[in-house]
Symmetry: C2
Subunit: 102 residues, 2 copies
DNA sequence: TAATTATATGAACATATGCTCATATAAGAT
DNA sequence: ATCTTATATGAGCATATGTTCATATAATTA
């Protein structure tokens, strides 16, 4: 292939893609996202089910919120989080599937 | 959903998935992998096309080799690298597509 | 053989990351 | 109003990460 025929990715695309995958590069965030893909959860619930500190969970949810992978709503004094990008979640599930049935 | 009904991921699955996505979490590796998905390349060629040092490219290729995302063969005194996991590359391309056509 | 070209790799360094700890904010309960 | 429960967040710290620099290894050429 001649050099001028390479399809190179734009800087913006590369940044976007790496941002999404960076979210999936941490075991903790994978577990949180997979849990949220099954049900809407409060911070405490995530914290208990995944056996993590409240602070660690909240920090990670803040991270996932910033890149719009999760959304949240208040219910009483609890915050309910859920997934907010079905296409990206589908990528995660494909990878899980691939890993479990190689 | 009752707590005992959660489908939790095994530690092994979480580790595998995060390992794959970690490879995609760095802009440099995304560019390398996308280039290799289009053509078999020598280290020097990658280095020139992506405007990176030979050493940086070689280190990253070594990384990608270790997790079996790329394979390589010798040709003279050059090493030719190419992608070695079509399913994983498909995940990358889906993410690129999603990012370019939101 | 000596020089050149291509690649690999260890060490060092700057930056990024994920957690804990302490504390702040906010809503419900008493 | 006060206390409790739930969540958010800044600071600090230990570890991980990606690059450069120098050098080693390997095949080709003169």
């Amino acid at each position: 292939m001649r050099e001028e025929e390479h399809r190179l990715l734009s800087a913006g695309t590369v940044e976007n893609v790496s941002l999404i995958f960076k979210a999936f590069s941490d075991p903790t965030r994978i577990r949180i996202l997979y849990l949220l893909s099954q049900e809407e959860c409060s911070v405490n619930h995530v914290s208990e089910v995944l056996d993590m500190s409240q602070s660690a969970v909240s920090h990670q949810l803040s991270y996932l919120r910033n890149i719009r992978l999760v959304k949240y709503k208040r219910e009483g004094n609890a915050m309910l989080y859920s997934c907010d990008d079905s296409h990206v979640i589908s990528l995660l599930k494909q990878a899980i599937d691939h890993s479990e049935h190689p």
